[in-house]
Symmetry: C2
Subunit: 219 residues, 2 copies
């Protein structure tokens, strides 16, 4: 098992039994979604904003227009952190204190740089799009050079990370278990609904296999 | 329409057509979820972590154990920001550049203070739990005083906020619309699955109405 080394930054102090530093497990959490909360400092204040991302090996790819305040601030800082969370269940206990949620959450820390050359940008955008929906990149219209020029692509190298996972049942005080109060889980899940074709499509363009695969995999 | 005033901090520069400062609309986004990404600065680095929250009027309530690194840092700073996002659809365009997502996202900024007295803490925790699941607070075992003592309750007063919403279809370049490439939306939704009773429940404890209401409202 390969792990990120623990430092003051990524070490989890509260709920250590839920913590993991395992690289594969953290990658699995990152790959289960494509929206991360990227944090930056603006005028001394910490702010986080949701961004779509792609991952390949220990790299995270973000993109935006060339004028994006957050990505420009991250590039100036030379580093960033991003948190991804999947909410899996409400944990409804007999006591208020033991209410909780089941979840998988990962926070990654690392250095960032701008990708300057067109091939590197195109490869990063392919990774980004394939992370969102496998099979789509090769089916869309190739990017025009002026579109690449308008796009700011940032590559983060993950240097450190940690994750927390809660995936168990209710954990009430033993003396509360006989109370006449219902306790249990309500599982939560993000699902896809049936794809809706753009009304400007030419006739006879069916929903492609890669889109139906995504729909069926997210039921 | 009552709005948050715009400042350098909360003014949205990119995608102004998606921006809103309307207080009611922002509250609706906050009330549609209960997990926010709270940002803080740790050793000069901006980090965000997911936390459950409750909202009442212009107050946001968070809680944790008394030793939570993030909440203690927020209290020391005296201020915080939190971002909430709901992902509503993948927007699959003919070109890479116009791929997007439909979403509702709100970022709130404000001051924080610790709630010290037991009644204030209990009221905040009631708000917190009712925000997660309406009707639950009155059905659970009342908190013991030593449980309240172990709990750190933080009240944020929202001073400023902004939100971004994208809720439209595909927006490709007009010259791309005749291409033989499928484009459209894949709606995404968080749903609840059937509640699972804790296996330590005494016999004859049915799933209560407030839990079934939540389940049915989240289909």
């Amino acid at each position: 098992m390969q792990e990120y080394s623990k430092s003051k930054l990524n070490r989890i102090k509260r709920g250590q039994n839920r913590a993991t530093y395992d690289i594969e497990r953290i990658n699995t959490i990152l790959d289960a979604g494509f929206i991360g909360f990227v944090s930056y400092t603006y005028e001394g204040k910490a702010i986080s904003l949701p961004m779509a991302y792609g991952r390949k090996d220990n790299k995270i790819y973000l993109h935006s227009s060339q004028a994006n305040r957050m990505l420009l601030a991250l590039l100036e800082a030379g580093e960033m952190s991003m948190t991804v969370m999947h909410l899996d269940a409400l944990v409804l206990a007999r006591s208020g204190l033991h209410h909780s949620v089941n979840y998988r959450s990962a926070t990654v820390f690392g250095t960032v740089k701008k990708i300057e050359n067109d091939q590197g940008k195109s490869d990063a955008l392919e990774c980004f799009m394939e992370h969102m929906m496998q099979g789509r990149w090769n089916e869309i219209r190739p990017m025009h050079p002026h579109e690449l020029d308008r796009t700011l692509v940032v590559e983060m190298t993950i240097e450190s990370a940690s994750a927390k996972v809660r995936d168990v049942g209710v954990n009430d005080e033993p003396e509360d278990e006989s109370l006449p109060i219902w306790a249990g889980l309500v599982p939560l899940k993000q699902v896809a609904q049936h794809p809706i074709s753009d009304d400007k499509l030419p006739e006879n363009i069916a929903i492609p296999t890669h889109v139906m695969n995504y729909y069926q995999a997210n039921q």
